[in-house]
């Protein structure tokens, strides 16, 4: 008897809103929900990596609702350690679709040897604030995080 195992992983490819051709695996997808207190990527970032992460905001939306604007602010502790969300081409943030955003994260070159990245590394957090197009609009704010550790 043979057993077939099907493994499906969610991948997000650009739908045309951005200029990249990358697909992002589910291990680098952070899903934000109305409840819950921890929204983290399961895959870690090495301080020298420059990697894409997808922010999945769809659970926050009602039917036919979209986000008009999303701001992402890296929190002070992460900023001080050199954790950065890139903003310039080809690594600028892009809208994958109406509820998914792709960002690229890395650590500043000058900060890549910090002891903060040794062992278990350090969780680097950023605040995501989204305003919807409902009337009146809804505002959602959640804190996402990526663990940065030397591999």
């Amino acid at each position: 008897m043979t057993t077939t195992i099907l493994i499906a992983t969610g991948i997000y490819a650009s739908s045309g809103g951005g200029s990249s051709d990358v697909t992002t695996p589910s291990s680098r997808t952070i899903t934000f929900t109305p409840s819950g207190s921890s929204f983290a990527a399961s895959q870690q970032l090495d301080p020298t990596d420059v990697l894409d992460f997808v922010l999945n905001l769809s659970p926050l939306l009602e039917n036919d609702e979209q986000f008009n604007a999303v701001s992402i602010v890296v929190l002070p502790a992460a900023v001080a350690l050199g954790f950065t969300i890139l903003t310039t081409a080809p690594y600028e943030p892009e809208e994958v679709d109406d509820s998914h955003i792709r960002i690229w994260a890395t650590v500043d070159e000058a900060s890549r040897s910090l002891s903060a990245w040794s062992g278990q590394g350090t969780i680097c957090s950023f605040e995501v604030t989204g305003v919807t197009d409902s009337n009146p609009s809804r505002t959602w704010q959640r804190t996402g995080s990526i663990r940065v550790a030397q591999k």
């Binding site: 999303v70 701001s71 602010v73 890296v74 929190l75 002070p76 502790a77 900023v79 001080a80 955003i101």
Partner: protein
Amino acid sequence: MIIQIENGTKLPIEGVATEASISVRGDTATVAVDARQLIAAPRPGKIIEMMDAPWEVLKTTSRTRELLTFTCRRLVSG
């Protein structure tokens, strides 16, 4: 969809040789600074000058060899 990224605000603060990363919510600020640039962590109750205003240090929230974070409260004059 408009997407805006902010990699933190870095500003000089009194008594610290390097710029600090600061996040302000209302009258409370969270400050993160390179701990290697400090001789001693700001003590609770100390008044520091930041963003052209006096702030009272509330508490140190974390300290490692390279990172110190603490919270401050903006003082209202008058």
